[in-house]
């Protein structure tokens, strides 16, 4: 039985009038949000989150925040020796990395009880959708910035410790090493250094795999936008073979792997910008994602004003920066040099700009335009 949205809003307001009601709404809201987050964050599909408790974390004597210290595999090797010889010694030491916790919170939503009456959209639905969307986006934005920092750090190291411009011009001149970032085949042959995203080619994926596979790591998973994914459908019979080409022409690409790699697609093109494709190893070679407190939900009603907020406490870190590589399908520079002045087109937009509405209703752009009086 479905309850009309207006009735839901009324019941919501009534329930908020009691302590028990507020607790129940907070409890139900919290449960729902947590389940949805696992579905929608692409970061969680690449590095599965692990729940940790306070007991797993380390404090600081200087302030009241927490880290979890993660051990990294120590170096070791074997050697050939004669019957009389002996091996060299290694006083072992395993590197350790701190993974720091922080909070991601939704906005503090507020509305008066009276103004709620002006909505037929169920307010509970707004709570669920807005909170989930906001938190998932920030998780993915943080993740995307971290993986970009990782590939750029390795790229800088491979170029003698200097941030070296990587665009069509420097590739043609041979003045840059493509170690952890590689330009796509069509971007390399572009006429200018621009932000135009070229369609991904089959050799692009193969070459991206090689960036990892050539370093005693194994590529396992791709991350790309839906926009770039759509370009796969342009692959020809030479790429797909006639059977796949026939299938793709009817159903699109329906398989779970592409050239042996599983993949994660995202529609969040304001965070993962089109033209950027990352490849990852399995999570145990890559990094950590800890959840200290799953999504919590707060709701309160003071006089006639209802306030609600959701938040979670997490930590994420790319610990082995060599376990992620990047393919760029545009010809312009995306390093911090910003040699072509187009960097803003390739990196996640600011937090403040996330979640921009697609509709233009508030601008009066709807058709037919009907005015009430």
């Amino acid at each position: 039985m479905s309850v009309p949205a207006r009735v839901l809003n009324d019941m919501f307001s009534q329930k908020l009038g009691t302590v028990e009601g507020r607790e129940k709404i907070a409890e139900y809201g919290g449960t729902y949000i947590r389940d949805r987050l696992r579905e929608v964050s692409y970061a969680r599909k690449i590095v599965p989150p692990e729940n940790v408790t306070r007991a797993d974390c380390q404090r600081s004597v200087n302030h009241d925040t927490l880290v979890k210290i993660v051990d990294v595999e120590p170096k070791s090797r074997a050697m050939s020796v004669t019957f009389r010889g002996q091996p060299t010694a290694r006083f072992i030491r395993g590197p350790k990395a701190e993974v720091a916790f922080f909070t991601i919170s939704s906005e503090m939503f507020q509305k008066t009880e009276q103004e709620l009456l002006a909505y037929e959209m169920p307010i509970t639905k707004v709570i669920e959708d807005n909170s989930v969307k906001d938190i998932q986006e920030i998780e993915d934005r943080e993740f995307t910035i971290h993986i970009e920092s990782a590939v750029q750090a390795l790229q800088q190291e491979a170029n003698g410790g200097t941030v070296t411009t990587l665009n069509r011009t420097t590739i043609a001149a041979g003045t840059v090493v493509e170690f952890s970032v590689r330009k796509g085949e069509l971007a390399r042959t572009a006429l200018t250094n621009d932000a135009t995203v070229r369609p991904v080619q089959r050799p692009d994926i193969v070459n991206l795999r090689k960036l990892l596979n050539g370093n005693r790591l194994r590529a396992e998973r791709l991350l790309m936008t839906e926009v770039d994914w759509d370009d796969l459908l342009q692959w020809t019979v030479e790429d797909f073979g006639d059977r796949l080409q026939s299938e793709t022409a009817v159903d699109g690409y329906k398989y779970n792997t592409l050239l042996g790699l599983s993949y994660v697609r995202t529609i969040k093109t304001d965070i993962l910008r089109p033209g950027n494709i990352y490849v990852f190893t399995r999570p145990e070679f890559f990094g950590k994602f800890f959840v200290l407190n799953n999504t919590k939900f707060y709701i309160d009603k003071v006089a006639n004003t209802i306030s609600w907020q959701a938040w979670e406490d997490i930590a994420m870190s790319v610990i082995n920066i060599a376990s992620v590589r990047k393919l760029e399908l545009y010809s312009a520079d995306a390093t911090s040099n910003n040699a072509d002045g187009l960097l803003a087109s390739f990196i996640p937009v600011d937090e403040d700009e996330l979640g921009a509405a697609n509709n233009r209703v508030d601008q009066g752009l709807r058709f037919p335009q009907v005015s009430q009086f």
Binding site: S60, N62, H63, E98, F101, F102, T103
Partner: protein
């Protein structure tokens, strides 16, 4: 596949029960011994702690025996909690005298003497009694923080949250916003004595906080909007900047300028000069450092 004869199976079945019983007995005995060993270790630690803290002057073996009896009666955990609450020598010493005066730059008199400067350091110190020192915690609200809008902004220079950076930010420094909606220091710290000329906000994050370092863009919290009263160490009461004045009286207005605290220049509070001073006011003194453990207490209050 090798076949097992019925005779062998019967033999195994006959022996199995006896063997299992024997293994179980051995396991139970081992568990009992382990528990006894753990108890003995716990009791010995507790006895040592009691003697160390001066709670008991009984011989250690006697004390251990008493504690083992207490453990059998299930009182060991309560005793341990009680011992943990007691500080060292709490019973024998009523107090102790110490010179807890801080030395700017971490230089003690002994270090100064060894460096050939005995007397100079103390003299210098006396001259700067009105100057604060940077501590682990430098900015403590004394009013409710809930009504304050504590807003996180990314830093224009993310390296400033690195606790190893000599130019790194200290809690209680004063920040302002740049054109990119990012935080920058409100005063130029190239030298002491540069006044802030724009609206500024106090930073509420101790040096090296993990949560600040964890976030891309190094977002850092400030007290953005609202009224509050704060104890701060980030001030120089004697420094007179521009048309300002030394901090000498309660309710004196305050402004922001770069100040030198033990060799580190930060954006902190100095005295405002009143009507003749064109720099903005950020707060008013409510308690002078001399009567507030060398911390300046002030209330927020903006006037350009």
């Amino acid at each position: 596949m090798d076949k097992i004869s019925h005779a062998k199976i019967a033999e195994v079945l006959a022996d199995a029960a006896a063997t299992l019983r024997q293994v179980t007995q051995e396991r139970d005995a081992a568990v009992e011994k382990l528990a006894a060993l753990e108890l003995r270790t716990d009791v010995e630690k507790l006895a040592s702690s009691m003697i160390e803290k001066g709670i008991s002057d009984a011989p250690k073996d006697v004390l251990i025996e008493q504690l083992e009896k207490a453990a059998q009666e299930g009182r060991l955990d309560r005793l341990r909690d009680a011992v943990n609450l007691v500080g060292p020598d709490m019973w024998s010493k009523l107090g102790h005298l110490t010179d807890d005066r801080r030395h700017p730059g971490g230089t003690s008199d002994l270090e100064s003497f060894l460096a050939g400067g005995l007397g100079l350091a103390r003299t210098a110190h006396k001259e700067t009694d009105h100057m604060s020192t940077i501590d682990r915690i430098n900015f403590e609200p004394v009013t409710d923080v809930l009504p304050i809008h504590r807003r996180d902004f990314p830093l224009a220079d993310p390296t400033l949250v690195n606790p190893a950076n000599p130019l790194g930010l200290i809690d209680g420094e004063w920040m302002t916003l740049n054109g990119s909606y990012q935080l920058v220091r409100a005063a130029n710290i190239a030298a002491a004595g540069n006044a802030a000329t724009v609206r500024s906000f106090p930073l509420w994050a101790e040096r090296g906080r993990y949560d600040v370092q964890a976030i891309a863009g190094r977002k850092t919290p400030i007290f953005f909007l609202g009224v509050y009263e704060i104890d701060t160490r980030i001030f120089d009461a004697a420094l007179v900047v521009g048309a300002g004045a030394a901090i000498t009286t309660v309710m004196q207005p305050l402004k922001v300028a770069s100040v030198n605290l033990g060799g580190k220049i930060v954006a902190g509070l100095v005295g405002h000069g009143g009507a003749g001073d064109a720099n903005p006011i950020v707060g008013y003194v409510t308690r002078l450092p001399a009567s507030n453990s060398n911390k300046l207490r002030f209330i927020q209050g903006w006037r350009s």
